[in-house]
Amino acid sequence: MINEETLKELAISKSEYELIIEKLGRKPNDLELGLFGALWSEHCGYKHTKKLLRSIKSTSINTITEAGAENAGAINIGSNKAIVMKIESHNHPSAIEPYEGAATGVGGIVRDIFAMGARPIALLNSLRFSNLKSSRNIQIAKGVVEGISGYGNCLGIPNIGGECFFDESYESNPLVNAMCVGIVDNDKILSARAERPGDLLIIIGAETGRDGIHGASGLASQNFEETIELRSAVQVGNPFLEKLLIEACLEISNLNELVGMQDCGAAGITSAAIEMAEKSNLGLEIDVSKVPVRESSMTPYEIMLSESQERMLIAVKENQYKNIFDILDKWDLKCSIIGKFIDGNDVIIFNNNNLISKTSIEALTSPPEYDLSKISKSYKHHKSNLILKNKYNSFNIETISSHLKNIFSSNNIVSKKSIYKKYDHHVQTNTILEPGSDSAIIRIKNTDKFLLFSCDGNSRYSLLDPKIGAEINIAESCRNISVLGGEPIALTDGLNFGDPTKPKGAFQLIETFKGFNNACDIFNIPIISGNASLFNEGHNSSINPTPIIGAMGIMNNKTKILNKNFLKPGDKIGVIGNFWGTDQGLSGSEFQSFFENETTGDISIDLEFEKQLQFCIRNLVRLGLIKSSHDLSLGGLIVALVLSTEKNHLGVELEKSVPNNWAGALFGEDQSRVIFSYDEKNYNEISNVLNDIQWEQIGTVTEKNINFENIIFESEDLFIRYNKGFSNDL
């Protein structure tokens, strides 16, 4: 009988083991069990999320790939150009070894992009850490940032934006989601498949070592306490080698002899090669003795399951590898023919001339699919009520001022410059709007297009109500793009959740997909690629459910570039949506978390209104009627005003009195609000554009301070606090 320890190490359940025997008609040998463990892991097999993923809107008139069919999703942007993009997590490795975990996370997502024949043109990332109060947390945050910097800067890909958020729910499990964007001519997109029997399977790049064995099945499928011992499962990156791989693979991609390309990532050769064969409807022969290895005496098991970084697989026409090898030689890259595609439906593995496994590809690549709705049935989601203290509902100048001052020491509010100045964001000379804005903007040379990108998530909302949280997630990512004039056309998602085999985790996943589906339908936007990282648990608690949305927008290069900053005194200020926040808007807000250390209450969003709002603000930008524009969200109205005046050291005069329920009014993060500034002479035209939507002119830009009719906030001190950055230097 099989040892339970072995099954645990591979994250295979007993019933799954029995299913394997049933599918094979025999017991698997050790190597085969390893293959199943890898391919049936969540990371490769999506056994808990596949059903849900199928329900997602993943196509539009512009999409080129089918969701999940390739290394990343591709969308046509016109001018015979396609954008390829995807987000990927490296949470567990980063928890164990922050620098290398984050670095190899960047390496992995970049390989997914150039495997499609696309040149990587931008990186973004979304980071989640616990508070910076313990040295361990500081070390993790620092290590992750340094890792992204150390690896990404070496590649010559600009890191143009993203987000970083702190919450205690990430105490055991930091989240590191990296997003990469590439560009490729429509007719040159590569596929991760072979064409016909006889096509060769060639490995390129790093030698295969013992690092990262069981990364996919172990690290990504067990909770944190179990993985602390798995340090050797974290790979070590070599960004220089990756840079050579990018250039060599893109050069090779122009050759007719090349048939397909695939990143060798999670679960190593096992996943990469077998998935290629499966997509090609072909069988495959591999000889592990042909794989260049770093250490002698590596076993076939280790070679097949190693997750050594900086390796790619290519499929090449039979006997036509000479030109390809010449290019690899030019770049001083190692390569080796390790197998060939054959007729049939088996993967046949040799070690030299010894047959060591012959297994059905169909069996390997069809893990069981679990129905999460059965698991979540027993979970009852409790809505918590928002109870506000009296002091938050009685106007008192000192109390209000001190709260504003204090919230500008929250790591979630202050400037993130100390992070993004460690990332090269200028290389490739396309960056028009740098990190720190609502979204980043790059131009596409030799076209009439600007592209906009944002990467955003709000896990507190997802904790309070995962469905509405997911809707807000998409709405806000798109809003970040619309406020600068871009039309959102594609999304990629990073799903960071707890244990899906527990009712709560299953419930959160199901509800998140419901929210995504709603929002994608209403905004008519597809999710073209994505990644799931489950089992983010530790210390008997799981992370807040944290879906992350990476969004891409497009606009004409004649559009005037603006950002959140007010430009000069005398300009008028307007708000679309409600000017004042509400008490309900404090639910899941930074104010609530920072001052009351809780996340409670109800959240809501009106997606139809949101859609109309985004349409209107895009039009205002495109018509050149406004001078600045900003999504009014984290920190509420007052924080948005401070941030809009900070860059140019300005102030505002508002024709309003702060009401008694000041906390909600000033700090409420009610959805669907945009703040913008404009020249008074454009008022009538702006009114015409905003004819059918709720908006008002609320005041005037001045030289200093935020002046309401009944209270003045001196902003110079707030600017200093904002620019001081994090409580600990990252």
């Binding site: 910097s149 150390g150 800067n153 070496c154 220089f240 080698l241 490739q428 000379t429 396309n430 131009r443």
Partner: protein
């Protein structure tokens, strides 16, 4: 007039440099591969930024021994114009075409930001700028902290060979505006003969107003006027 842009494994600023010189300014530019043994009749050599050979061992150290560097060294010694940008500056120092070393930034961190530079326009690389003009050019490096012994620094200063200094927007060259700890806020220097320039900032990344600044073009404009 032809510019040669040298590509080492790990270089990543070659296409940005090519775009700035060839596409924006219309100066014929071509790449020179590190394994080549000829400069292919180019009139100006640019060593662009990046991480040549991964910057393993020491920044610029391995590249300085690559085959093409022999040709570049003799080209420079016979008066040919050579510019090293960022990693290229590091390579020029390692090759002894320029004095000094570029040490780890004093913050111990990589830094990417727009830097303001005060220009010494008394050089063939900067004659298109106004005297003491303040220009905005991005920096992007982990090792840009220029250091040399006192004798060399004195010589650089006396011979007016400090071509760029980090400064404020208003031209103050104080420590507050020094991004990496470089001595005397040095951002770029020339050799004694005045035909070799090394600088940490990336002029090719400041090639169009749309991307934040076109202040870097003055360098390329200056050298082509000089060469013609």
């Amino acid at each position: 007039m032809k510019i040669g842009i040298v590509v080492f494994p790990g270089t990543w600023s070659e296409s940005d440099t090519h775009y700035a010189t060839n596409d924006v300014l219309g100066i014929k530019s071509e790449y020179i591969w590190h394994k080549d043994h000829s400069l292919n009749n180019t009139d100006i050599i640019i060593l662009p930024g990046g991480f040549s050979y991964g910057d393993y061992l020491r920044t610029g150290a391995i590249a300085s021994f690559s085959p093409i560097m022999e040709k570049i060294i003799s080209f420079a010694k016979s008066g040919g114009i050579v510019i090293g940008i960022c990693n290229g500056f590091q390579i020029l120092c390692e090759s002894k075409l320029l004095p000094g070393v570029l040490m780890r930034n004093n913050s111990l961190s990589f830094v990417c930001e727009n830097s303001y530079l005060k220009v010494n326009n008394d050089s063939l690389f900067t004659n298109k700028y106004k005297p003491n003009e303040i220009i905005k050019i991005p920096i992007s490096h982990g090792e840009g902290n220029f250091q040399a012994d006192k004798k060399i620094i004195d010589e650089l200063e006396e011979q007016n060979r400090v071509i760029f200094r980090y400064s404020s927007k208003l031209g103050e060259t104080t420590l507050d505006h020094n991004p990496n700890g470089s001595i005397n806020n040095i951002a770029g220097i020339s050799n004694k003969e005045g035909n070799v320039l090394g600088l940490m900032p990336h002029p090719e990344k400041a090639c169009e107003k749309l991307i934040g600044s076109d202040d870097g073009l003055g360098i390329f404009k200056s050298i082509i006027t000089t060469s013609v």
